[in-house]
Symmetry: C2
Subunit: 313 residues, 2 copies
Amino acid sequence: MNEIYSIGIDIGGTNTDVGLVNGNGKVISRANIKTGDYHDAVVYVDQISELIKQLLQNVDSALVSGIGIGAPAANYYSGNIENATNLNFKGVVPIRSLFEERFPYKVVFTNDANAATYGEMIYGGAKGMSHFIMYTLGTGIGSGIVIDGKLVYGADGLAGEMGHAILIPEGRECGCGNKGCVEKYASTSGIVLNCLELMPQFPDSILCSVPFEVMTGKTISDAAKKNDPLAIATYERTGYLLGIALANAVTFSSPEAIFLMGGPIQAGEVFLDPIRRSFKKHKLFIYDREIPILLSSLPTNDSAILGAAALTR
Amino acid sequence: MNEIYSIGIDIGGTNTDVGLVNGNGKVISRANIKTGDYHDAVVYVDQISELIKQLLQNVDSALVSGIGIGAPAANYYSGNIENATNLNFKGVVPIRSLFEERFPYKVVFTNDANAATYGEMIYGGAKGMSHFIMYTLGTGIGSGIVIDGKLVYGADGLAGEMGHAILIPEGRECGCGNKGCVEKYASTSGIVLNCLELMPQFPDSILCSVPFEVMTGKTISDAAKKNDPLAIATYERTGYLLGIALANAVTFSSPEAIFLMGGPIQAGEVFLDPIRRSFKKHKLFIYDREIPILLSSLPTNDSAILGAAALTR
């Protein structure tokens, strides 16, 4: 069998990464540009197209399955970036058709969390699963849902925004306009807020000397490695809350497993253990099998490119 | 075209209703037995089978699409009733195979909320929709989810239990072992509890003279018709909480519409208006189209039979 190659493009607020992915799910060559350097979407797409041509130089075009693109505020159905808050391109940008005009390949476009979900299904730990959910934890919380082996897009291409499910009615104000979203309790900034909330109970913590404006997820994760009690309590609280959110998601689609990826997960067992305990405690009793909470098995640096490339498979 | 007939069976804790449904979704004849009169599942199925034979007396068996069965604690994949809490049949009862042994027809078996969802899709207001969610409000809260025109069963046949999503972490104790489930705030008993919680604020309400042990959803609904301020506040509070739960469900599957059915909905606008207002307020802004909250369009008395019959279509 001839090897099938895919192009994966990860459009981020800071960088745009482009990679050539082989049939085994390995990124065999890559390139990137600074997204913020571009203010005109056409110039931006032209530049990426140049990179793609270079990556494909020695590849038979008959063996290319397509170009997959993951982006924030991406709409799968329309192929547009729509009102992205962290990109220079304002309004509606027809990313998919700009690439379709430039290449003879299939172009598939979706949001970054959905791409990550696809990557896990095609190349990662969810290979062979028909039902799973992915949460991507970072500055915000994204999610992707697979049912019967298919990504759920919903009526408008915007399904799977469980970071904005309301976990604590009338809780913390979220940028989306609601209060108490999961994202405000379990994203990087949510973890910092949990830490601040618990701080008065741990006056001896090394974190008490860190000003709020410089406190990050990494500060807390580093403190946890030194067994700081406030850092540990912060992950306990965060894991407790996230575990409830995951248990709630199970009442929806009853998945085989839930996957987690992203920065906060790098804290390791100090965070994962309370997530798993809370999930187990709150999982509805009728789901009397194990539903494992798994980490993405894709290499962190390549996962976004792999996810995008997987869309074409 | 020859008319296609289906048999719908609704197994409830009190009654088991059996109906013959025509191609237009009308129940053209029906019969019932008392579920509680039977302690042996085989005798019970034999008795239902007799009723079915009578209903099918004048129908050409070539025109029968099958037998659909809705039941509590039903597992679609296994075809079993599993550990039902409100039936005499304990443990695992192979309902589907008991019917398959007795009839040459396709037999489809699922839980009652899923059957109601199917009924709405085939015969009711969701005809032609690919993405919608149904909530059945009653003693508990059931739900069914349709994505891409298919009912979501999940890995084990038990998807769609959103009545047990946790709405208020550490809230009211639920029979499922968790605390704060949607069901404890928006089912019939949840509404009564909301009323009790608000009672001290409304000492002049006519409901203050009603003992807890006899207070029902109907008591509160009747009081609302007399403009009792506590009853109105109870529906306002319940609608507020249910509206959040519905908005959360949208972040999962981004449906075209959400359907409601069941006793509490009979209260009418005094309940529906606050549900809709809260839903609109809490619906994530990216879903910037109308997602209507609709009532089931199936006749209340026939909806369970129609839902079960629809499973065969």
